[in-house]
Amino acid sequence: MYHDDLSEKIFTRRAFVVGALQLVGVTVLGARLAWLQVAQGSRYKMLSDKNRINIKMLLPLRGQIVDRFGVPLAVNNQIYRVVIVREQAGDLEKSLAELQKVIAVEERDIQRVIKESKKTAKFIPLRVKEELSWEEVARIEVHLPYLPGVSIERGEIRSYPYKDSTAHLVGYVRNVSPKDLEDDDDPVLKLPGFKLGKTGVERTYDKQLRGKAGASEVEVNVIGREVRELRRRDASLGDRVTLTIDGELQRFTQEILATHKSASAVIMDAHTGAVYAMASHPAFDPNMFVRGFSQEDWQIIMNDPGRPQTNKAISGQYPPGSTFKMVTALAGLRANVINKHTTVFCPGHYEYGDSRFHCWKKTGHGRVDLDMALAQSCDVYFYKMATEVGIDAIAEMARELGLGEALGIELAEEAGGLIPDIAWKKRVLGRSWQPGETIVCSIGQGAVQATPLQLAVMTARMVNGGYAVKPWITGFVGETFYGKEEAEKLNIPQEHLDLVMKGMDMVVNHPRGTAHKSRIEEEGKEMAGKTGTAQVQSITKEQRRLGVKNENLPWKQRHHALFVGYAPVNNPRYVCAVVVEHGVGGSSAAAPLAKELLVQAQARDPAITNMQPEKIDNQEVLQSWPPRKPKDTGANTNDEGAQ
């Protein structure tokens, strides 16, 4: 069988060629596989991880801000929002229309959702309406079976239960601006919905309050849908900030100030420097800033001459007027220019060189010693003394008492005030000091400027035995005590301080004292203090001749009314400083407010309560799910908070 044999031979040969080609093919495949998996393995492994792992940041919950009693001043209120998932909704517009039958949804929001739905992946929940009321939540829950794709989501919103009372002190949070991103590279700032402390304590302790963002490594599939969570580091709650503030006293202060057009006040502890209340009127509702507000609201705030945006208690700088007279007196005592027996005759004015300096009382005070000069606020006594003491000695005393520079309170908005001296004038104005300026400055006019906070500190240092206390508002951040260190003793003899305090006592409690009408009659709680009336502009000769009453001038030209005081007289604990802008008279406008404040401060007596760094679990804000009807928790919820 020749053919068969030959045929078989050829076939065998060619079959082996085919087999060899198959072997080569498999070898090539194996080599390629090895190349991809071994030589290029690590590169592809990296690409693979990048492919599937998405790191999602988890928004941290902002720490609470509480007052010294643990009463919340800034909390995270839970809100509910209704969202819709396109994928589950089927017909999105139909579902939204159904939702509109259940709760009121603005047509604008419907259109926005429909627009968004075209740009986002179909499984992303779209926010339809924020801050649902409990009724709305309940209605949606009931109708949920008929609302395909609709669900209720939980969220948090920063809330200030004390509303405008803490507007300046606690401040507020707002959306992150592009500029914030330049200054701060914390990636949490880029999270949608993240809000940053912009003013007040919210700003000062923003980093501590904001907490740490958590991270969730999620495996995503090719279209970005989350498949499962690989790893999770929960966001850590921001630190709780405990303030020295007494929330109720703060609210009281705010309400008292509201009797005037524009005013500010500070109540603090004479011995520790802890601030119990610090308010500035007019204010605003900080919750508006969080939620965003209308153009009209913004215009109202911007156009208010009382500058609602400004915390005048720390950044309002006023000529202290007669409240400065204690400084001049202490300088005079230290310079031995006066002592407790020194008397001056006040004819209603004081001649110096070619100039005549008027006392506020045209008819004069007659012969006065230091006590009476303070009690009746006789200007001439201080004019005369100042010319002998000199501005530099007065300025030195002012600075020792805390005036002239920022005191380092934990608020960014603090202003430094101004205490002029010879060197200052030379440096800033390039001219030499005139003795007449010393006279003007001795009664807290001229270039002298102080903030209400500085005036309170000045008073505290005089009545606490001469210790250079500094003001502070932060008790604890988390569990760390932030209080001020022991204050150093100033080089002011106690008998000098006693003399000044005697004068301040008489201002209120002597029948001829300028603030006698505002005295506290309850035994053991009497207050002492000093009125001040600061000119905003010089009284012209014309006005003086015509006897124009200051209160009849336009508001902007009226005198500022000031009062610094302390109580109780015998054992000073609470000091307060009140400034009523353009309030005309310290005794008529400021002293009555100070009285109210010191009465209230002594009644509440916040000093006897120590702050606690309480390890509260802020978990309380993470309420139950599904939503339950909120309990009435007093100050905890926004609406009940400001009763």
Partner: protein, 373 residues
């Protein structure tokens, strides 16, 4: 007229003569498919693994029956089968379902039948029958190659109309291999390759856009990793990230997260090596090589030409699937849409593979059948 000498064997004898090695290898290969499909579904028998297993069971039964049937019957049925296949191709052309921009399927109710897959077997059978009676001298004459050329060109033309370039090329290659085995002159193949090289620019104009795109993508896949090159890039990432030991069963992140397209069909090899690594990949290649070897051995031991050509033809056809599929997912050749038989999910490819192996086994069982010319 060539006839087989009647060679009656009892059923038990035939069963004993079955190539149990091949059956073992086929089962092993199907198991790889089963495991991968189980994993592709995220660790579930549904929707693929269970049906794969069921089809395999039915297919194995059919394969055994095919192997049991005397080779002479297959010899006699060759032309009817071939023309039935052609008829089915015409049928899909006329009334086929539209899918993937190409008409390829006949809906049989329980499965989508792709006649082109079965046509490959029919072409191999037809060529085996044609060369069965030939002598090497005849095979060298070009006139003797006219019939094989027609046998190949008729289905290729119909498949190209679908249009399915990959399958047409595979039929041409499988048919060419048959002609080569029959002893056709070597210069014919070299000349053919030259001709192909020349005709590429011409053929280019006749390609569909998506086919052009596939070729372009193949040439530079990373240029557009999220566009057309996406499949290849993702597949390479999946394979490469498997490393030597693999990510572990059910842990192939690329595949499970749908980064991998068509993971249950054409890219099943990717899923396998992503999870089992180089070791699993080489194991699978070794398994395939053994199957090729069984095909070669069956062909060499066969005493009649029809069986030789048929057995090796089936083996070549199977290896073409393997090479094209695996080379494609590893980025060696353009994406052509070829499954990995018995591993990929798909009824027709499994059916075609098992029919082929059935015929191969029949060649083994009836290898001593006497041939007269």
């Amino acid at each position: 007229m060539v006839m087989f000498i009647e060679d009656d064997m009892r059923l038990s004898q035939r069963l004993a003569k079955m190539n149990w090695w091949l059956i073992f290898l086929i089962c092993a290969l199907a198991s790889v498919g089963l495991a991968s499909l189980y994993s592709a579904a995220g660790g579930s028998m549904e929707p693929w693994a269970s049906r794969h297993l069921m089809r395999f069971g039915i297919g194995m039964f059919g394969m055994t029956i095919i192997a049991m049937i005397d080779i002479k019957w297959w010899y006699r049925l060759t032309w009817p089968i071939y023309f039935l296949g052609l008829a089915m191709l015409v049928f899909v052309e006329i009334k086929g379902h539209v899918g993937m921009g190409a008409q390829r399927w006949i809906n049989l109710g329980f499965m989508q039948l792709q006649p082109s897959e079965l046509m490959k077997i029919a072409v191999i059978m037809a060529l085996a029958r044609h060369f069965h009676g030939s002598t090497p001298e005849q095979a060298r004459r070009l006139s003797f190659l006219i019939v094989p050329a027609l046998v190949i060109i008729a289905p290729v033309g119909l498949v190209l109309l679908q249009p399915d370039l990959g399958t047409s090329l595979m039929i041409v290659m499988a048919g060419g291999a048959m002609v080569f085995m029959a002893g056709a002159p070597v210069w014919l193949f070299i000349g053919g390759m030259v001709l192909v090289a020349i005709s590429i620019p011409i053929a280019w104009q006749f390609l569909h856009d998506y086919q052009k795109q596939r070729v372009m993508t193949f040439l530079n896949p990373e240029s557009d990793p999220l566009g057309a090159g996406y499949h290849i890039t993702q597949s390479k990432i999946a394979i490469g990230s498997g490393g030597i030991e693999g990510k572990g069963f059910l842990k192939g992140s690329q595949s499970h997260l749908n980064f991998l397209p068509e993971k249950q069909t054409d890219f099943i090899f990717t899923l396998w090596v992503e999870e089992w690594g180089l070791l699993g990949g080489l194991g699978l290649l070794a398994l395939l090589l053994l199957i090729f070897a069984v095909g070669l051995r069956t062909a060499l031991r066969c005493k009649h030409n029809f069986g030789r050509y048929l057995a090796l033809g089936v083996s070549v056809n199977f290896s073409l699937y393997v090479f094209i599929n695996i080379a494609m997912v590893m980025g060696l050749i353009p994406v052509v849409g070829a499954p990995l038989p018995l591993v990929s999910y798909g009824g027709t490819s499994m059916l075609a593979a098992l029919i082929g192996f059935g015929l191969m086994m029949a060649c083994g069982i009836y290898r001593h059948s006497k041939v007269t010319r």
